[in-house]
């Protein structure tokens, strides 16, 4: 592949994560290169969300290693983890905008937390810029409950982007949205990615989304990386486990 010589942003080796007796991830391996979009396919409950939560340190893996920018996430202290997290963006499936805060406060929140010394004017400028990127500047002083699902997703995207992360993890970005809005979100993801030169891991089972965004598709099955390849490669496959996603 032509991207083989590029910098490796995320390297996951033999990742194991179990809940009780049930092994969700069982020796998972993945490498994400700079500037590429990796889509992880998988059925519900196959451990996709668990995987990206392990990457950002929301869940502790049982064994194996996760290196983000050559630093091992699974052996970090809380403070180091906070530091590393400022380089990783995370778009939650349910947006996770704070209900009790306005859109402005939602966007300010990570800024003033991660960059303690930031000036008020700088915060204002960044918030406006982020909202402008998703065309929602007019919602600045609204509450999340006043916005529609698609708008919320865009705000959430703006919040994820505001820290200029180098890696973004998307947890089912188009789930629960109508096809038109889904397309808008996908285009937005691609646009922002080009602008900021980020790498991303996208979890999805929306094949349109996969088709539009993926540089590399990974199928997660029984806790392992079952197969990886481009969208076209996988589409050609005759494997039953792969074919069911393309029907």
């Amino acid at each position: 592949m032509e991207t083989a010589t590029k910098e490796q942003v995320i390297v996951i080796k033999d990742l194991v994560k179990a809940f009780g007796d049930k092994k969700i991830l069982d020796g998972f391996n993945l490498t994400v290169e700079k500037g590429s979009n990796v889509v992880i396919l998988g059925k519900s409950g196959s451990g996709k969300s668990v995987l990206i939560k392990c990457i950002i340190g929301l869940l502790q893996s049982d064994s194996g290693s996760i290196h983000v920018f050559k630093e091992n996430i699974s052996q970090m202290t809380e403070d180091e983890l906070d530091q590393a997290r400022s380089k990783i963006g995370f778009l939650f499936q349910s947006n996770a905008l704070y209900d009790s805060m306005t859109i402005r406060e939602n966007l300010e929140f990570p800024l003033i937390r991660h960059w303690v010394d930031i000036s008020k004017e700088e915060v204002e400028r960044l918030v406006n810029e982020a909202l402008e990127n998703v065309d929602l500047l007019h919602t600045l002083d609204m509450m999340p409950s006043e916005l529609s699902g698609g708008m919320l997703k865009r705000v959430a995207l703006a919040r994820t982007m505001i820290l200029r992360p180098e890696v973004i993890l998307y947890d089912e970005p188009t789930t629960g949205l109508d096809p038109v809005t889904s397309r808008e979100i996908e285009n937005l993801i691609l646009k922002l990615q080009k602008k900021n030169h980020t790498s991303s891991i996208i979890i999805s089972h929306d094949m349109n989304c996969v088709k539009n965004t993926a540089d590399l598709v990974v199928l997660l099955l029984e806790g392992k990386c079952y197969i990886k390849g481009t969208y076209e490669e996988l589409k050609q496959s005759t494997d039953e486990n792969i074919k069911q996603f393309f029907e």
Partner: protein, 256 residues
Amino acid sequence: MSLVIRFKNFLDETGNIARFTGRFFSVGIKPRYEHKEFFNQCYIIGYRSLPLVGLTAFIMGLVLTMQLRPSLVDYGVESQLPVMVGLAIVREIGPVITALIFAGKIGSSIGAELGSMKVTEQIDAMTVSGIKPFKYLVATRVLATTLMLPLLTILGDAISLFGAYLGVNIRSVTSFDLFFLQVFKSLDFSDVLPAITKTLFFGFAVGIVGCYKGFNSTKGTQGVGISANSAVVLSSVLIFIIDLLAVQITELLGLN
């Protein structure tokens, strides 16, 4: 068999709450402090609860007075009504009723708020944004409930005593000065201090239980409802248990 399992679950829950409480003391007390959120929570938990607490306290004082009067009249000590009511309100009724109302209002709202934040991944989002949810959400709320409940109790006691004053005046006449003098003449530090001290613990219990239940809420809207409900039930029971302990301790210390 199922009884054994239930008992084990109960012990498990108790252990988890104890661990959660321990976490509050190990994590929540260290800097960095979330001043702004703490004051915001104080406003919501303290100030916003005042109308409800005030109303119930007022009614309680009035009703207690009217209920006590007949038996005092029977013994011919109607003039001791302010003393009786004052002692009852300051020592027991005020703190416990206020704490129960508080548990109903604040315990459930904390349980539901943190529960829904948990369910909609807002707590995870905080972690990702470099905020310690335990500090930001739990420590501030627990500290706010612990400090606000005593204040609410004092204000509630005052309102309750005013209700009692009106209650005395329904059937007979007493001046405010006389009522005030009678009540305070019967009160001692050994009445007020244990009563205020125990409300600190009531508030702490309401905060910890509400946060624990919300923080460990299971998925779905049903889970949120369950956390809110069980937060109220558990904190109400805890209030009575603490009350029982408080009376024993004050007895042991000879403060009664």
